[in-house]
Symmetry: C2
Amino acid sequence: MSSFVQIKAVSLRERVVAQVRSAIIEGRLRPGDHIVEGTLTRQLGVSRTPVREALILLEREGLVNSEPHKGSFVRAFDEADVAAIFSMRTTLENFAAERALPVVAEKDLHHLDDLIAQQERAIREGQFGQVRAKDMAFHAYLVRQAEHPLLERAWGELVAQIASLLYLRAEAVPDYDETKAIREHRAILDAFRAGDLGGIKALNERINGRVAAECQLGVRSLRR
Amino acid sequence: MSSFVQIKAVSLRERVVAQVRSAIIEGRLRPGDHIVEGTLTRQLGVSRTPVREALILLEREGLVNSEPHKGSFVRAFDEADVAAIFSMRTTLENFAAERALPVVAEKDLHHLDDLIAQQERAIREGQFGQVRAKDMAFHAYLVRQAEHPLLERAWGELVAQIASLLYLRAEAVPDYDETKAIREHRAILDAFRAGDLGGIKALNERINGRVAAECQLGVRSLRR
DNA sequence: AGTGTGGGTGCTGTATACAATATACAGCAT
DNA sequence: ATGCTGTATATTGTATACAGCACCCACACT
């Protein structure tokens, strides 16, 4: 017997976190917006308790700013934040590469190849949500190979912040050339195939530097 | 004017966090212990709301494990956790050194010298709480020089976990040679003076590897 | 005009009350 | 004795109620 699907009771708190997080990432909540607990309570049909707890988590995640007796606000990143986020991401991804390089197998590289292909198709078909998802999946898979829970969590939090930044970039640079990412991912994959750790790190550095600069545009365009 | 101390109304939540955190770090709460909300409520004289919120934060911090409808437990690190924690610490401190090296001034090095001296005195006087505090202050100061809020926060969380591990080490290795740290700190400082980034990283690697191994002892001695 | 003052309002911080779930254990059947 | 099932109890998850702070704005005063 068995082969039943485990029933997982998702707490309201987690569901609220998910809702608010995606609202922020998808730009339905704008940077600086005041997130009023009572409003969320009404909109989501839950009480304030899980809402409050969700906001506390989101603050830790860096998507929300809370000030005592004032409330929670969608975090408005400035240039320094963007720089910090991407330098941290580079550090973490370099670390991930160090650990992943010795253990990646041929099937992993194939899977990554596949993800690139899927991303390419999504670009052709104009499904930009999918493009972003596949892009993230590529990096996430690499990070995952590092088999390092702390790293994975820290990277995951960063990625949530970056996702909200990418939304701003999309606004600031509407005709963004998505194929750049394809070439870059191929380059990373080649470096992995060659076992060239230095090459991987250099690529991480360059790519994150570029994306950071693009996100700076988004952030700046928001300031006024 | 200014140079006034900011009046900060510390929320009950934060105070509960602080209390529980120090209880864990100082070993008054043992790994695996069940943290019952009602009990904390009575002991601290506050209601369950701030207690719950504090536990949520502590879970994010990695000091507490929570399972739905079961409760919160003091996190019991295993060998893999310890390895992960210290490899992450090495990564973060190497990153910190990269950023700090170009900006540290003579006065910073003097201050670090001072911290080492204070730690030395604390060892002589047998104030082991102070020894630990000064040790951490040394590393924290270096991390601070990196001027990177994300790095600082991630490192801070790690340090909280490490602090609880050090307590276990103290139990497993009662006659620990505290002066090792002094020599190591001097070595790091020398490497900074020499502007030798590679040397700093090598030291970070070696020191964290050693401390990790010692903490493994503490974790293993707890398993039975 | 500018500055201080008072009250009103909406929000958050905290406490408490209720519902749902997990665990332990007793009772029953086999 | 063993294994299952029902029930009791403790604990967490959620909802609601109350208290206190922050901001807004009108108004008086200089």
